[in-house]
Structures are given as C-alpha cells and as structure tokens.
C-alpha cells in the first residue's frame, strides 16, 4: 500500500447502508426506539382507508391470479407483500401530484379513485377498457387520478417524471412528481439520466424504488455493487433514504418529508423501499425454478407482512375491528363481483379504435387501411 500523502489524495468512500427506517415492529406496535414525533399523524378515517385499499390490492390480486390460472385472464402481476409501498406514498401526496407508476402499484390508483370496474375492464381489454384494449393487462392509465400511462420498458418513466416535475416548476405550481420502479430498474440508463437531470434542476420529484430483491430471476446483488440503491442519490447531489417497505407508516413519513422538501424548492429525494417479492414476477413466471431453499425468503417476509402489520397497528389504536374488516372484505368482494359480471356483457373495442389516438386525427392512410379491414370478415382469435 502506498503510504505517501498529498493534498487531494483522498479516495471518496461511501459509508455502509443503515438498516431501513421503520416505525412499526413486526407486530404492529410503534417501536420503542422511534421518536414519537416521527410517527405521521394519520387520522382514524385515513388510517382505515389506507388499510381498506391495501386489503383491496390483496383481495383483487388473489382473485385475478386465480382467474389467470383458470385461463380466464391472459396475464397478471400481483403485489403480494408490497402493498405498503403503494399506500404509504399515496397517503402522503395530494391528488394534484403526478404519479408515474411502474407495473406493480395499483394501490395508488385505487387510493386516487380508480374503480375496480375500470381496473377489470383494462385487464380484459374490452370496449370499456379506459385504454381501449391496446395494452396487455396491468398497464393502466387513470388521468383523473394523475396516474400516468404504464409502459413495459422499465425505467422510461423516470426521466418523464422529472420532466413533469420540471414543468410544474416552470409553470409555478407546487405539484410534485412521484415515480416508481424496482431495484432492477436502477441499472438502465434512464434511471441515471433521470436522477441526474432532477439533481441539476432541483426538480420536485420523488423517486420510489421498490427494492423487492428480485428482477424476475435476478437477485439485487447482480444489479449493483453499490452499498444500497439509496446511495446512488448521493452521486446526483440529493438525499437518499432507506425505508422499511413493509411499514406503511414509515413510508408515509419519509414521503411526507420528501414532498415537503420538493414543494419548498429543495429538490428531489430517492426513497429505497426495502421489501420482498413474495410471489412470482408475473403470471408467466415460476420462481420455484430459480429461488430455492435459503434463496427463498418468502416465509421470513410473510412475518413482516405489511397488511397484517398495519392492521395490528390500527387494531391497537382501537380503530380497526374484525367487524369493520369483514365489511371491507364484503364491499370489495361485491365491487369485484359486479365488475367481473359486467365483463361478461362487454364486447371487444370497435375496429375503428385501431386507428384512433395514433395521431390526434387519423391520417388518410390509416382510414384507407381501416377500410380494407372492414371490407373483410373478422379474423378469428388465435389465442
């Protein structure tokens, strides 16, 4: 080792990642070592609503995975164990804030008013699908909830969210943009480009990384040599924080703080929500092939289940009761049943929708192509 010294001959080093910030213990009690001032002041009504929407994600996922397994639905992606990352963030935002989702955050759309009917119609790509049958299941759009259209290429939404945040800044509004992505998406260029632009512009943007440990079969250790995802914010000149992704209170607390910073003109924040993908990546995936034995931590993470933890917390607060829980289950199930029953009566989108929305007005060549199609009998579905 070279012992010689000189001014500037200092290798920059990152400190080790701290354990993720948590407010609740695994049993839903506020941890003794947490300053009570850090616990967000969530009203009973909001607390119940958070619980209800988390429960909705859980029940809806369970139902649609079953429908997929029985061949009634082509494809699905569930959020099992990651529901707190949807609702903790959702609670901390205003409706006017923009959300650039990845594909595993339906809870934030529910919180903002996306109905199970629209959700279900999107999955079936029918005539009442808000996106007119143009995208695979789980690629939702909910304009009224400022929930931006989902795309499959990972990370493209990151610079877009920064642009929307910059636009709010330019237009003198105090909206923030929130963008979701997984830890695998901290690898492609769009992540780095987006964070870099956000840092330079001090854009009012909150980056929420759902670090669930797995990008399909690829563990987080293969994605980065950094000490954490949150560390990456430092290189772009703004704070990063690690938070327990299964603790809705901790997520709400850090998101409230990040949003306040953003609205005050202090710039972006990267939140690394540490959680675990207990289920498969999607209905097309089979984790038993690549996640065996000790590699499969699902059982450990089930003990930290976000829904149970928050449910116990609300129960300890004396707000949630088995009777209320049962009402929620019945209401959600009924809404879902109604949406599924309606699906049976709704046909596919009309053929003209093929050429709509490509441009604001269909180009002449598109009208010509549609006319050719309309002159022939419909092609049978091959799947």
């Amino acid at each position: 080792m070279n012992q010689a010294t000189a001014p500037g001959l200092t290798i920059l080093e990152a400190g080790d990642a701290p354990p993720p910030f948590a407010i609740l213990d695994d049993d839903g009690a506020v941890r003794a070592d947490v300053d009570p001032a850090l616990v967000p002041k969530i009203s009973d009504a909001d607390g119940l609503r958070i619980y209800r929407e988390m429960l909705k994600v859980r029940l809806v996922d369970d139902r649609f995975m079953k429908l997929q397994r029985t061949g009634r639905l082509g494809f699905y992606m569930q959020s099992l164990g990651e529901e707190a990352t949807h609702l903790g963030v959702a609670y901390a935002l205003r409706q006017s804030d923009w959300v650039f989702p990845s594909y595993r955050e339906p809870g934030i759309a529910f919180w903002r008013g996306y109905t199970l009917r629209d959700f279900t119609n999107q999955l079936f790509g029918n005539a009442e699908d808000p996106v007119k049958g143009r995208q695979m299941p789980v690629h939702h759009t909910f304009r009224a909830g400022n929930f931006v259209s989902i795309s499959s290429p990972v990370g493209t939404q990151i610079p877009q969210a920064v642009g929307a945040a910059r636009a709010a800044q330019i237009m003198g509004k105090d909206d923030v943009s929130v963008v979701y992505f997984g830890e695998g998406t901290a690898s492609p260029g769009d992540f780095h480009v987006g964070l870099n632009f956000a840092g330079v512009w001090k854009a009012p943007c909150i980056f929420v990384c759902r670090n669930n440990g797995w990008a399909i079969s690829t563990p987080a250790t293969v994605q980065t040599a950094a000490k954490s995802i949150a560390h990456k914010a430092l290189a772009y000149g703004f704070p990063g924080i690690r938070v327990d992704g299964n603790d809705v209170l901790a997520l709400a607390a850090v998101t409230l703080q990040a949003a306040a910073r953003a609205r005050a003109g202090e710039g972006p924040t990267l939140i690394e929500a540490c959680t675990y993908r207990r289920a498969a990546h999607s209905s097309s995936d089979d984790p038993s092939v690549y996640r065996k034995g000790d590699l499969d931590e699902s059982a450990i993470w089930e003990k930290r289940d976000p829904l149970n933890r928050f449910g116990k917390y609300m129960t300890k607060r004396g707000v949630l009761t088995p009777a209320i829980e049962q009402i929620y289950r019945d209401e959600i199930t009924a809404e879902l049943q109604a949406a599924l029953a309606a699906v049976e009566t709704i046909g596919p989108p009309p053929l003209v929708s093929l050429i709509e929305d490509v441009y604001a007005q269909p180009l002449p060549i598109l009208k010509e192509q549609l006319a050719e199609l309309l002159a022939l009998p419909r092609q049978k579905l091959s799947h």
Binding site: V131, G163, N196, A360, L363, P364, I365
Partner: protein
Amino acid sequence: MPVYNIIQAVNDALRLEMRKNPRVVVLGEDVGRFGGVFRATTGLQEEFGKDRVMDTPLAEAGIIGTAIGMALYGLRPVAEIQFADFIFPAFDQIVNELAKFRYRSGGEYPAPMVIRTPYGGGIRGGHYHSQSPEALFAHTAGLKVIIPSNPYDAKGLLLTALRDEDPVMFLEPKRVYRAARGEVPEGEYTIPFGQAKIVREGQGLTVLCYGAMLHVVMEALEKQGAAEFDPEVIDLRSLVPLDTETILESVRKTGRVVIVHEAQKTCGFGAELSALIAEKALLHLEAPIVRVCGLDTPFPYTLEMEYLPSPERITKAIADTARF
C-alpha cells in the same frame, strides 16, 4: 421582405411562437447560453430566460424523456438533438414512449412536442455527423416527420409543428443550413403538413426528393443538363403525413420516376415511395422506378461526395429513365 437562411428562419419561428405561447419551452445541449452549436436558438435565452430555454446535461435520452414529461404535464417542448446521429440514446423514448403515449393511454395522455435535429451529410462530418435517419421515424406510427429544404418552408412548417397536436420529428438539412437562402415573410404563417411542393413543373418524368437533396437535384437540372428531359421536381417536405395525391398525380402524368435521398438505399424512404407508386400507379409506368441514394454502408468521411447522390448521378438517372 428579409432574406434568411434556414437557421435564421428556424430561430424566427421559435421566437415568434415563444412570444405568443408561454407554454413553448426549448431544451437541449448548448441551446441556451450559446444559442446552439448551429446558432438556431441564438438570443432566445436572453429574451425568454433560463426556465424557457434550458441548457441540459449531455444526455439525449434525458432531453427527450424529460421533454415528454413536460409535454404530458402541459408544456409544449421543443427538444434539440445536436446532430441526428446522436438521437439513438433517445430512440427508446421516441419510439416506445413518445410515439405511443396517446394511443396506449386511450387518448388520455397525448404528448405533443417537437424534436428538432440537423441531419444529413456533405459537411465533412464522418459517420457521426452526417446520417439521415428519417426512415426509422417514418416507420414508427405516432410520429410526424417533416423535412424542409429552404428557409420559407422551414419557418412555416416549424410554426405548424409547434401548434400540432402530435409529436413532430423536424429534421433540418444542415448541409444547406446557411447556403439555402430566400425571402421569408416577417410575422406568422404556417404551411400545412402533408402537402408536397412542385418545385418545377414538367412532363418528362417525376423526381421525388426532400431536404438537402432538392438542391442537388436542381443543380443537376441547371448545370448538368438534366432539365432537357423536362422533369417535374417534387419536394416532399412532409414524409408523414405523405402527400400521396401530388405524387401519384405527377406519376400518372409522366409515367417515369426518379427518387433521390441521401440515406442508404435499402429500406430508405425511397423504398416506400416505390412501393406506393407500384401499388397505385403501376399501369401508368413506362420505365422502372429508379432510386438515387446513399450506399448501403456507414457514412464515409473522405469519400462522402462519392457516397452522396451527386448532380452527375442524378442526371444519369434522369436521362436513363427518360430514355428507357
């Protein structure tokens, strides 16, 4: 009436629209303090400030990605990509995101914006300052692709682009950025998309071209004697939407076609034009359709004038087609 080059015409259009519409913002590398490496945004940051004319970090995917977010939110961004050769880091954002946003969101999230970029060879720029990627964008549903050849069209088409509800790829022929000069009216005027311009009427054959190649075609006519074959020269101006009527009407009249572009031949936009004519006007043809294009090679440095369609190659193609 002032005489402008294309750069001045672009600058004029941007300035006029920025004065009129506070939602128009410009972003890109070196566009602010410096006014762009080709000076197309000169003086805009001084007039409109750093929030509306933004020097960005050096990352094309970031320029386009953030511009999309701005467009979604309600601004009307004009993103400059310094050379079309450098647009590819943003290709995913353009092809998978920008072009599809309106469609994939069921019409809920349109992203109208303009991407300006200088394209084309003949400036001793080698592979990476000379390419013509227009066919890649014309092949992407959801984008409009506009290429002016002169200052008058550049201003009128850019003003249309800035008011269009769809994303517009605005490719500027840098070889004639300064060389193409002409009278440009002061104040606003627009040129509709999808209208080709008949630059020279003729009966002998139809020559289809756009951008810098229009000037090479005219040189062939004026200096190499190609005019004796009485060509009708059409400047497409707009590849998407394409003015098929003007093209087909001319072809039905002349029965002979030469297509000129500097992008490589295979799968270039000329292939689309050839197919269109074959589909819609085959029985009017009296000679094979001929394409005069760049070679199917990367763009060369030293031998670029051999790579590019020359007045001589164009003249020979015109003569062969006329005499066939």
